[in-house]
Each structure stands twice: as C-alpha cells, then as structure tokens.
C-alpha cells in the first residue's frame, strides 16, 4: 500500500490506516512534544489530535 492509498483510506475514516499514519509520524510528533529537553505528554496528546485534524483537512 503506498502513501496515497493510505492517506485516502485514513481520510475516509478507516482505522488501520489512521493508526499506521500515526505510527509513521510518531517520531515527528515526539520531536515537537519536547519542551526545554523534557517530553510533555499533554502536548504530545495535542499534537496527535493535530495529526488527526491534518489528515481530515489535507486536500489531495
């Protein structure tokens, strides 16, 4: 399954695709969730929500 298919499936709400995207972008989210060298769990949660919003709003 290539990225485009995965993204389309995630957009249509198929959970496995969403989970795969979340796993794929986890390092990026973790990187941005670090404030002053400390991992902020609340921020990580917020960023996960941002990812879900991005999937829904991104126009292909």
């Amino acid at each position: 399954m290539n990225f485009k298919e995965m993204l389309l499936q995630a957009k249509s709400g198929r959970e496995p695709a969403v989970i795969e995207l979340l796993e794929m972008y986890k390092p990026l989210l973790v990187k941005y969730a670090i404030i002053n060298g400390r991992f902020d769990e609340d921020l990580y949660q917020e960023l996960c929500i941002s990812l879900l919003k991005c999937i829904a709003q991104f126009r292909i």
Binding site: F3, Y25, L28, L29, Y32, E46, C54
Partner: protein
C-alpha cells in the same frame, strides 16, 4: 526507521507535501501550547514556596517538629487536629501530607499494617465528626 524520500514519484511528492503540511500545523499547535502554558504560569501562584512564619503560630509547643500545622488556616480543623493523640496525629499527617504508605507507617510506629490503617480511618472519622459538629 522512516527516511525522507527523494520525491520522484507522484505518491512521494504527495507524502512530502503532507509531511510539510503536518509539520507546520504541529509547529503552530506547539507554539500555542507554550504560550498557554506561560500565561497559566503568570496568573497562577505556586503554593510550594509558602513562607514559614513561626511568629504566627498559636501553640508553639505542639508545633515542634510539625511545621505543616502552621500553614493550616481553618481553625476548626486546627482544633480537631490538636485534640488527637500524638500517634493519631502523626499517622494522619504523614499519610495525608507526605503520602506514606501504611506499610512504611507500620514499620515506623511498630504497629501492624491493620493497626495503622485502623488508627488512620478512626482518626479520619474523628476529624469529620469534630469539624461537622462545630460548623
């Protein structure tokens, strides 16, 4: 391990676009979050650095070794705590404020686990009763 692709095929271009889109959104959300956190820190006052004021204490002798009691403002609660026995007060305060477990308190006081928990819950009941009656 995921790596940045070379962006040749259509789906790779799309992936790079999505990653950039996501990175921007995440960056903005992060900035908002940090701003919110700073604002919260400015408006909230921390209670950790509560000043230690020995001159305001009511009964110096009973407060020896128990500086926590000086910070209690509720006079009803204060009186209820004062009427407890030394052992009850110790177990109650260590349990509620320091957060020690019953096992640790049992070792310290020489009672059994059940003994300590019995003392603790009896003390809670006593304090409840006293604060209810006087209020």
């Amino acid at each position: 391990m995921w790596q940045k692709n070379n962006g040749k095929s259509e789906t790779e271009i799309l992936q790079n676009q999505f990653t950039a889109y996501l990175a921007t959104a995440v960056q903005r959300r992060r900035n908002d979050y940090i701003q919110q956190m700073n604002r919260r820190q400015q408006t909230e006052s921390l209670t950790d650095g509560f000043p230690f004021m020995p001159e305001c204490s009511i009964e110096q002798d009973m407060l020896l070794g128990l500086p926590v009691l000086m910070q209690i403002e509720d006079s009803v609660l204060f009186r209820a705590l004062k009427e407890l026995s030394e052992r009850e007060r110790y177990i109650f305060l260590e349990r509620t404020l320091v957060g020690k477990s019953f096992e640790m308190l049992a070792q310290e006081t020489g009672l059994g686990y059940k003994g300590v928990s019995a003392v603790y819950y009896r003390t809670v009941q006593k304090i409840k009763k006293k604060t209810e009656v006087t209020k």
